[in-house]
């Protein structure tokens, strides 16, 4: 089966997010009452796996081994068959 996974990576809550801080300062100039900004990234991967359980396991490995650094980041995957 062919799966498409969207993997969201975000800095852990306790890790500083300097990019988020810079965006917060910039959004402040729009006067919209923004009080907090956290940034992250989204990685979309298409891959083949025998079933959904195997696909889940594959995205866990991708997140753990490369896409996120467990010291500073969390990740979660949303999956669909394509």
């Amino acid at each position: 089966m062919r799966f498409t996974a969207t993997i969201h990576v975000r800095p852990k809550a306790e890790v500083r997010d300097p990019q988020g801080e810079a965006i917060l300062a910039a959004l402040g100039s729009l006067g919209l009452g923004v009080t907090s900004v956290r940034t992250g990234k989204e990685i979309v991967v298409t891959f083949d796996a025998p079933d959904e359980a195997a696909a889940r396991a594959a995205t866990d490995t991708m997140g753990r081994e490369l896409l996120a650094n467990p010291v500073i980041e969390d990740f979660r995957a949303e999956m669909s068959t394509s």
């Binding site: 800095p11 306790e14 890790v15 500083r16 300097p18 990019q19 810079a22 081994e65 490369l66 896409l67 650094n69 010291v71 500073i72």
Partner: protein, 234 residues
């Protein structure tokens, strides 16, 4: 004594290390990241640069390369390893050193000279340097050292901090911390003491014409340590 210098796509400091190591009469070889046999070497340098364009995170892609797989084995057997700048980032990403390096607190890329104080002379790279304040250049956008509180406590308790950013008096202050690193940490060693990493570039502080020679001490330390110690049984 032979020193392997690893080169990934985007590495930029391998020639500087080659030159600086020639000044202390070490034999060197630059190895492409797919040339994985480290057995003939006595020490390994992971130089600075932007391996794989810093994509995903600085050092993240290099972590999965054949050279780093081989480096894990080399390090596990006690072989001396030094990573500078992107090399430090790679060693952290590979889990060979604790913690991680994130975007500088001020978001800017910093190219400057800094002072760091050496806190441990027990490693192959810092013999005789304890409490010495060394002036070396930095050039990085992701040099802010972070770790979770438990890891930071362990790093401090076990004395794994090798270098701290300090002022001209040798004191770690907020003003002397260029990138927001936790505890002003500029460099670390592993528990065994054979793997060290630092953000500054010792290889670029190796000749008076470059503005200083404080980095040469670390390379001399390596040559002296390996020259006097019996060869590692590998």
């Amino acid at each position: 004594m032979r020193v392997a210098i690893l080169r990934f796509p985007g590495t930029w400091s391998e020639r500087d290390f080659e030159h600086a190591l020639s000044l202390v009469e070490a034999e060197t070889e630059i190895l492409w990241h797919t040339e994985v046999d480290l057995a003939p070497f006595d020490a390994v340098v992971v130089p600075g640069g932007f391996s794989y364009g810093d994509h995903v995170r600085a050092g993240a892609i290099a972590r999965l390369s054949p050279a780093i797989r081989e480096l894990r084995r080399f390090a596990a057997e006690g072989g001396p390893v030094i990573g500078s700048c992107n090399g430090f980032q790679i060693l952290c990403e590979a889990g060979l050193l604790p913690g991680a390096l994130i975007r500088n607190a001020g978001l800017e890329y910093i190219s400057d000279w800094v002072r760091v104080r050496c806190e441990d002379d027990g490693t192959t790279f810092t013999r005789g340097l304890r409490d010495r304040v060394l002036r070396m250049p930095i050039g990085h956008g992701e040099g802010c050292f972070v770790a979770d509180p438990a890891t930071l406590e362990r790093i401090e308790k076990e004395g794994l901090v090798l270098f701290r950013y300090v002022d001209e008096r040798g004191i770690a202050t907020a003003g002397s911390n260029p990138n927001g690193s936790a505890g002003n940490i500029a460099g670390l060693r592993n528990e065994a003491g054979n793997v060290v990493g630092l953000m500054p570039h010792p290889e670029r502080a190796a000749e008076p014409i470059l503005g200083g020679t404080d980095g040469l001490g670390m390379l001399r330390s390596l040559v002296e340590a390996l020259g006097t110690a019996p060869a590692l049984a590998r």
